[in-house]
């Protein structure tokens, strides 16, 4: 019988003011153990002030095969960037 501990993804906030960042995964039987294991594996040197863990199966990821339709449309929308607009030289700050 396969009774191995599920995989959890670990996200660490390195200090207040910064976002949580994915740093790897661990195995644990439940959420409490997941937090404890994440602490032992990923914060031995004060790398974090907050940890999120989520069982990997709950993450929905985009498929790289669809990257074209997902991300390429943004490429020809240069008008979303300030440099698309011409200003007279006299305008210093805008």
């Amino acid at each position: 019988m396969d009774n191995s501990w599920p995989i959890w993804e670990v996200f660490i906030r390195s200090k207040n003011g910064l976002e949580h960042r994915h740093c790897g995964s661990i195995h644990a039987a439940d959420e409490k153990m997941a937090l404890e294991n994440a602490r032992d594996v990923y914060t031995r040197r004060m790398e974090g002030v907050s940890i999120w863990v989520v069982e990997s199966k709950y993450i929905t990821a985009s498929n790289p095969e669809n990257n074209g339709e997902l991300f390429e449309p943004a490429q020809d929308k240069v008008y979303r960037h300030p440099t698309f607009y011409n200003l007279p030289d006299e305008v210093k700050h805008m």
Binding site: S4, W5, G24, H27, R44
Partner: protein
Amino acid sequence: MSEAELKTLETAFEQKIQDDVRIEPKDWMPEKYRKTHIRQISQHAHSEIVGMLPEGNWITRAPSLRRKVALLAKVQDEAGHGLYLYSACETLGISRDELLEQLHKGTAKYSSIFNYPTLTWADIGAIGWLVDGAAIINQVPLMNTSYGPYARAMVRVCKEESFHQRQGFEIMMKLAKGTSEQKEMAQDALNRWWWPSIMMFGPTDAESIHTAQSMKWKLKRKTNDELRQQFIDQTVPQADLIGLSVPDADLKWNEERQSYDFGPIDWDEFWQVVKGHGPCNKQRINTRVAAYENGKWVRDGAMAHAAKKEVRKAV
């Protein structure tokens, strides 16, 4: 998938590698790339885990509290490194249990250096200084390897590794400055660990079967012989500095090459140990298997507890 489609994917893949675009877990990759990475990353992970055993041997007998906390922290780091690497390896579609089974059955390898025994406290110094020193030289280029999760794991590993080498060198330095017995102990450890350490870079380039492919995929950025030379050039002056002598009668500075020439390596010994006939191969694997089997009831118990809590939550 037709042959032409496969060819297109392969060409695009090789182009990405050439352009230094990292490969991420869900990206398409050739089967050989996946297999080679599973082999190398798991071998690396197993080395970290088995590597805890020779050093763990001395935790309870460390000569002072300072040495003990440092060694304990180092061994914990090795466990952590093993776990970062298993986690990177699992992104290639292999389970932790399969990886452990390969180690336990001997189908996956780990670094042969850990099949040597740690006979005295000085061996802890020699391991940190030489074995971790060699590991750092092997690992630093891997921070830029093509597979994203491996490269990221290596960044963490390398950041943590340099204290390991320093704590080892400090032990050697202290012993070398101590009583004549202590100095002798340090020299004896250097004598025993020197050659196995320089063998850690693997067979010579002429004999290495994986080098060409691994260079192409940036799994390797320098050849075994280049890395070995780098290690020798950097370590010999350190030995001189603390008054220990490297056990190689042919070792000589070559002014023209600006490098040390060194004597022949006993590759028969290397292959003997790789093939399972080193002093501690059986002991190391038996210890790992016993740890896994004796821990089974804990793993099962934790899962049973988690399942019971889920049921209670549901009602």
